[in-house]
């Protein structure tokens, strides 16, 4: 058995010896050139004059390109065709690329880029939510609204009513390896691109489009990323396309990487949100109706914002059954970086909205917040329920011709192919009509409250606070139920390519990218499992559009689910052929051939796997196969907000304890207990790493990580000196993570569950604990906003004191 083992990351020895190669570590081919963008210093306006003579004359400069110099219009948007690579005169944010410098060295390119004289007729930028609403500056024709029942009526008729607002900031990815790409021209006009991207197929598509080449002439390779977190789903397009264009024009290899400040100024971040809510509930805290309005600042271009905002709506319920709900989403267009994918993809923002409301309900009624949550939970999965009421693929699918150049492989492409919505589900259904059949948070909550000793600690903290005027402690529980699947249904597919060589070594390739999450290790475990061999026999290779085509981004937590299944299919095809060949030699049935412990047992014989491969080769059996997988049973209409967008739900729960200093607002996470549902884990060690990392990153989003733009629209927090990323000493002092090791009722890869994003939302418990500590300072509502920096904590303490 190799599946389920806590094997270390596949590149461990390479990482610790400095041998693991990232894009910028690839030795520069002879004569390689370096690129840098000249950036806009104005948030909104039109270019009236561009004087680039000084740039052209600068030492080392080989070429300077503006939009007008490009051989054809070049767009780098992941779908909406609203992001010209270089400004077409219109200026939309501070940091927008206006021109491209190609020079002999990185430093020369950057220095020259500073010499451009660009005159821009400034217009007043649209920055705030109010400004955007006033100017009706938004994506799509108006707000999206999804409803379940009559929320307003239910709220009006409920015994209790509350309303509130929570603001939550965005988040810089700060992948430790900045964006980078390297393009090398090939014979016959082809292009090879190495890119630090989560989405090689999209890079391939955009490069082909920019050069006027068929996709088959462009090859994109990605061995590993130094962190992605969603920030490399679409944001690498501009660099890869620039390199390819410059390489095409000069005939030389071209490489580009953003300096850290440029990276932070140019690339998109997590969407910041404002959420207004109104809730009606009974005396026990049971919600009768919820009306939520989400305002997302999407920045200047659409990017993946529609899908992000959809997911925020899809998680407005989190783990709670809402008898009636109205969810409204405004996708506002502002003159800032174009907000993009970030771990959780809108989910965390949606979840925080309802979690804040539930805390208010509990405080209002004087109930324990955990109890209020539990009363509102979805009904539990019942014994024997397989979580799959609709096993058939939705009938009556109709195919609509996609527009010619549309980027189908991107989550930014907006409309999915229309599908028949499934019949609206009944009792235990989400606001979007999906029956919840695999809900396990009841049992998880019981266990976590017990292992974390929640009740006793809450009592102790209340007592301690009573005697502590300056320092206050807080404790909070928060659950997460996260939908697994791309909400753009057709992206839920994957491919793999597997070869077995005659010496028994195995070459594995699939469409997913490795960014530290351990995907390559997990998929290699799947391959080793199928062949019954040691995982060391499986050679993991770089993601390569020439090996597996038409891949989806490694995103939506779906990497191992999709690619694991595809690899399994490929391995099973080869194993089947080997078994047949061996069986016919031994005149037994193929079914009786066993692959285990690096050996193959056939007709009473036991031979090594290598020998079996050799025999199969000599018997002229094909030892190479592709594998393909598509997620079954999805059906989703995003305009109506109805259907079954997810294959299954992954769950988690956390209890966090914090302390605040009421004189300074400073705060600490003292302890965190997590119980997380990874299904039957493919690799518990890697999963626990994802959970710990996700929690710390989630807590960072809501505590120390603050993005500040000035009134001109300039991002002032564009380096780690002003943007505080959690350091070693910021992790919980006492950190206890356990897995809820129950098989996934859905037929996922070895019944495991996706684990990349869901734990991020457990960081919300840290925020709620801070809010709890603030509430301990007085009788009034602290109304803490995020990120809960010391300033905001201090303000909340004052509000609580009344």
């Amino acid at each position: 058995m190799s599946v389920g083992k806590a094997l270390p990351h596949d590149s461990g020895p390479l990482h610790v010896s400095g041998q693991a190669r990232y894009v910028d570590d690839i030795p520069a081919p002879a004569g390689a050139l370096h690129l840098a963008f000249g950036l806009s210093h104005v948030a909104r306006g039109r270019i009236t004059k561009m004087d680039l003579d000084a740039v052209r004359a600068a030492p080392g400069v080989v070429m300077v390109l503006t939009a007008a110099d490009l051989p054809r219009p070049v767009d780098v948007a992941p779908g909406a065709h609203d992001e010209p690579l270089l400004s077409d005169k219109a200026v939309h944010f501070i940091g927008q690329p206006l021109f491209l410098v190609v020079a002999e060295s990185h430093l020369e390119a950057r220095k020259a880029a500073r010499l451009g004289r660009v005159e821009i007729a400034e217009e007043p930028p649209i920055l705030t939510i109010e400004q955007a609403l006033e100017a009706d500056s938004r994506f799509e024709d108006g707000p999206r609204v999804w409803t379940k029942g009559d929320a307003s009526g239910a709220i009006m008729g409920a015994p209790h009513r509350l309303q509130g607002r929570i603001e939550m900031g965005g988040q810089e990815h700060f992948y430790l390896e900045g964006q980078a790409a390297l393009a090398s021209p090939q014979e016959d006009g082809g292009m090879h691109v190495a890119s630090s991207t989560q989405h090689p197929t999209e890079i391939q598509h955009k490069v082909a489009d920019a050069l006027g080449l068929p996709m088959a002439a462009v090859r994109v390779e990605t061995r590993r990323l130094g962190g992605g977190f969603g920030g490399k789903e679409s944001q690498g397009n501009a660099l890869a396309v620039s390199c390819a264009i410059a390489a095409h024009l000069t005939g030389r290899s071209c490489r580009m990487r953003y300096d850290r400040d440029d990276d932070m100024i140019v690339t998109g971040k997590r969407h910041d949100f404002r959420i207004d809510w109104e809730v009606g509930f009974d005396g026990e805290g049971r919600i009768e109706g919820l009306d939520v309005t989400q305002y997302a600042r999407c920045g200047w271009s659409q990017d993946l914002s529609l899908a992000v905002a959809d997911r925020a709506m899809l998680h407005a319920d989190n783990a709670y059954l809402l008898p009636s709900a109205r969810i409204t989403s405004h996708r506002l267009k502002t003159n800032m970086q174009s907000a993009t994918a970030f771990r959780g993809f809108g989910g965390p923002q949606g979840v925080l909205g309802i979690e804040a409301a539930l805390d208010r309900i509990a405080r209002h009624l004087g109930l324990d917040p955990v109890e209020v949550r539990r009363r509102n939970y979805y009904a539990p999965m019942t014994e024997g329920e397989q979580g799959h009421p609709h096993l058939e693929v939705a009938p009556g699918e109709t195919w609509q011709e996609a527009p010619e150049d549309s980027d189908l492989a991107s989550r930014g492409s907006g409309e999915d192919l229309p599908r028949e919505p499934v019949a609206p589900a009944t009792r235990n259904a989400t606001p979007y009509g999906m029956e919840v059949t695999d809900f396990v948070l009841h049992g998880m909550t019981d266990r976590l409250l017990e292992t974390s000793d929640y009740a006793a600690r809450r009592a102790e903290i209340t007592e301690w606070n009573a005697g502590s005027p300056v320092l206050k402690r807080g404790i909070a529980f928060s659950p997460v139920k996260f939908g697994i699947s791309f909400t753009l249904t057709h992206l839920n597919q994957a491919g793999a390519l597997v070869h077995v060589y005659q010496d028994g070594s195995i070459h594995l390739n699939h469409g997913g990218t490795e960014m530290g999450q351990g995907l390559f290790r997990k998929v290699s475990q799947v391959a080793a499992e199928v062949f019954g061999v040691d995982p060391a026999r499986v050679r993991i290779t770089a993601t390569d559009t020439q090996k597996v085509p038409n891949t989806s981004a490694t995103a939506a937590s779906s990497g191992s689910d999709l690619n694991g299944m595809a690899a399994k299919a490929a391995c099973e095809a080869i194993r089947g052929r080997m078994a047949e060949a061996l069986a016919s030699l031994h005149q037994c049935e193929a079914r009786a051939v066993r692959f285990a412990e690096d050996h193959v047992e056939v007709g009473g014989d036991r031979i090594s796997f290598a020998r079996a491969a050799q025999i199969a080769y000599e018997a002229r059996v094909s030892l190479s196969a592709t594998g393909f997988y598509k997620v079954p049973d999805l059906s989703w209409d995003r305009i109506k907000g109805q259907g079954r967008p997810f294959f299954y739900f992954a769950h988690g729960a956390a209890v966090t304890e914090v302390a605040i200093d009421t004189l300074t607002g400073e705060n600490r996470i003292l302890r965190c207990d997590i119980l997380h549902d990874a299904g039957r884990s493919l690799n518990p060690a890697l999963d626990i790493g994802q959970i710990e990392g996700g929690y710390v990153q989630g807590a960072g989003w809501l505590t120390t990580e603050e993005l500040v733009w000035d009134e001109r629209g300039a991002l002032k927090t564009h380096a780690p000196s002003t943007y505080k990323i959690p350091a070693c000493s910021d992790r919980p002092r006492d950190f206890r993570v356990a897995l809820w090791d129950q098989p996934n009722p859905a037929a996922s890869i070895y019944r495991s569950k996706a684990v990349g994003e869901p734990p991020f939302m457990l960081g919300i418990s840290a925020f709620l604990a801070l809010s709890d500590a603030c509430a301990a300072c007085g009788p009034a509502e602290p109304a803490l906003d995020a990120p809960a920096t010391p300033e905001r904590v201090l303000a909340a303490v004052r509000r609580a004191r009344g």
């Binding site: 270390p8 990351h9 590149s11 461990g12 020895p13 390479l14 990482h15 610790v16 010896s17 400095g18 041998q19 693991a20 190669r21 990232y22 910028d24 570590d25 030795p27 990815h173 700060f174 992948y175 430790l176 390896e177 900045g178 590993r224 990323l225 130094g226 962190g227 992605g228 977190f229 300096d259 850290r260 960014m515 530290g516 999450q517 351990g518 060690a685 890697l686 626990i688 790493g689 994802q690 710990e692 990392g693 996700g694 929690y695 710390v696 990153q697 960072g700 380096a719 780690p720 000196s721 990323i725 959690p726 350091a727 070693c728 000493s729 992790r731 002092r733 950190f735």
Partner: protein, 175 residues
């Protein structure tokens, strides 16, 4: 200008602009890409190397200032093909995910263990007179200059603890 640097025990002659940082000299001129550039501002620690056994951010120092110094990068931490105990502990404790911060973490931790063994206090050291045990809090504080965005801190601290405890309790750490 011509500079000769002693990197991982080998003398390397380089022709550099005087303003070249040590990090760029290593990565772009000496072909040692193990040291990473996370920020180029001295704020992330990805570029940490050891100079005469002490850790520094190589992005904040000029190569020409280190003519007579012994420079150790992540490529020089192993003895031949044998990984150091700390390197091995990083693998067994999952002290990384994407691995981009790892070279800096390793160089930083190697030097940090030495600092602690010599009794240098940190910001959280309560007793400046006597040897302080290398608690998790001490490790966290002493490693706070090395950001890990994947937040593998629990694994990093465990790995460092294991390496600290291994060589005959030299550091006075608790077992």
């Amino acid at each position: 200008m011509q500079v000769s640097l002693d990197i991982n025990g080998a003398s390397v002659a380089l022709d550099l602009d005087a303003r070249t940082t040590l990090l760029d000299a290593l990565r772009n001129h000496a072909g040692l890409t193990g040291s990473k550039k996370g920020c180029d501002h001295g704020q992330c620690g990805a570029c940490t190397v050891m100079v005469n056994g002490r850790r520094i951010n190589s992005c904040l120092t000029l190569a020409v200032m280190h003519e007579d110094d012994e420079i150790t990068t992540v490529e020089g931490l192993a003895e031949g093909n044998t990984l150091s105990p700390l390197q091995r502990a990083f693998i067994s404790h999952d002290g990384f995910q994407c691995g981009y911060c790892t070279p800096g973490q390793l160089c930083s931790a190697t030097a940090m263990l030495d600092e602690a063994a010599k009794g240098w206090p940190s910001n959280v050291t309560a007793d400046l007179e006597n040897a302080t045990p290398l608690t998790d809090e001490e490790i966290s504080e002493r490693m706070s200059g090395n950001i890990c965005r994947c937040s593998c801190y629990p694994g990093i601290v465990e790995a460092i603890r294991e390496a600290a405890d291994a060589p005959a309790q030299k550091t006075g750490a608790e077992a």
